[in-house]
Amino acid sequence: MSYFDLKTDLSAEDIALKDQVHKFARDVMRPVAKQFDGMKADEVVAPDSPLWPFLKKVYELGYHKALMPEYYGGLGLNPLQISLVFEELGWGSFGMSVGMTVLCFPFYCACLANQEHLIESYVKPFCECTDASIRGCWAITEPDHGSDYVATAEDYFRSPKMRGNTQIRLDGNEWVIDGQKSQWVSGGTIATHALLHAQIDPSLGFGGNGVFVIPLDSPGVTKGPALRKIGQRDLNQGEIFFDGVRVPKDSIIVEPDYYVPMMDIILAAANLCMANWAIGLARASFEEAFNYCKERVQGGRPLIEHHSIKQRLFTMFSRVETCRVVGRAAANLNFNISPPFVEYSLWAKTQNTQMAYENAHDAIQILGGYGLTEEYLTEKLFRDARATLIEDGNNEMLAAHGGHILAETYPRPPIDF
């Protein structure tokens, strides 16, 4: 279902882009997402899985490089276009949107590092790839560390008690990696490359961490099983283990002396993605409920003619519109300034995922018993939405982080240039 856009001056290019991605979300993502949702996690990544032709289609259309700069062969989208595209992808499937975007994470961050060897070895081949043979993941969370990995403002962040599960040390001209990443690494079991967060100096806690871009075909890398979870079953996640893995010295892109502010920059970008996919998820729930209410008859008349249903649908509609305003505003700010104002990404992520969850919840309530069954999309949307409240930092932790930033910076002066 199309929607009226409050931004009435979208360009012809913007509208064409939005329509193209919507068609992909409707005709390709949703059917495949439904298939994956009913499969076991290991079946989703099996050689004969529909995952592989799906990914090939993603690469042929260039959606894997939506965030990459045009100069290297990326789509070169502006902040509004990123928001438009991500809303449609989120409407198609939140989990698959995460999976499609994390593909670029090591390569996007390699662009930020702006080192020629990384551009030549990783960025250009990724952007040129059309067969889905180069796939990234974001290897950050660990069995002992979830949202505390992004709690850079907490006093414990730099405490030696924050002992990472993934240690890395320099040995001559190589880094040596030992340890493991958790089962929540998105794309973990199918990735060929990782954006790896690892601890260099444990005496500094996570303030002694670094970020690396590494290939995952090195000796000593093994993968765990694909994770089965409550929602977003169409997003591959799983552990990565490192046993004396050696990578070149120049694999590092963020060193400990600026790891903390860079962690905030990475978090700001990741949270913007979440916020904009959540618009699509909120809209999908609203549309499922709205369409059902026009058809379903109760008490001798369609549900949509019942007063309480009208109120509830309007509340759902309001959440969608609010999500869109919030997601676009935060993207327009933080995809347009460097370094970003992190609290606005945190605001957008926490608010939009909460509103998307409430819409998914309300959709089930409106559909009643049918909403609980696999016959309708609502139950999948609800399970997917539940995961978003935890993904990329649970919302309570992100809110606390945002509160800390406010305590330090509020009110921010206007941007002085």
Partner: protein, 133 residues
């Protein structure tokens, strides 16, 4: 003490450097093709510089322009950047460089500046600027 001794020196160096980059390297056609314009706000010495495919302009004339990308940093960071001695992500993270404009454009601007970084040491020699910074 600041590396650039005064504003006229900055204008002379970068007026010539940008001109050469636009005329003699892929930078010119690329920024024309991408409709890219950059406003540099530099402290110590204080100078504003605007660059697009037509070349650089300075001061009030530059300030009157609306650029796609604005970069703000001090003069010493400018010097180190052109000598390839600035870790750009680190400088951004630590707010030594602040940028306004689409992140994608900024990311693609960095490699476009490489031809200028290659010839910048010649200016250092000519103007006796330190290269071991």
């Amino acid at each position: 003490m600041a590396i650039f001794k005064d504003v006229p020196m900055v204008k002379e160096i970068f007026g010539d450097l940008w001109g050469k980059m636009i005329k003699d390297t892929e930078f010119g056609p690329k920024i024309k093709e991408g409709n890219i314009s950059v406003l540099f706000i530099i402290n110590d010495p204080n100078i504003v510089m605007y660059v697009d495919a037509n070349g650089p302009i300075f001061d009030a004339e530059a300030e009157a322009k609306t650029a796609l990308v604005t970069l703000k940093m001090d003069g010493d960071t400018v010097h180190k950047f052109w000598l390839r001695k600035v870790n750009v992500p680190k400088a951004l993270a630590l707010r030594q460089i602040r940028a306004k404009g689409p992140v994608g454009t900024i990311l693609q601007l960095l490699p476009l500046l490489k031809p200028g970084q290659e010839i910048y040491p010649e200016y250092c020699k000519k103007y006796n600027l330190p290269m071991d910074v």
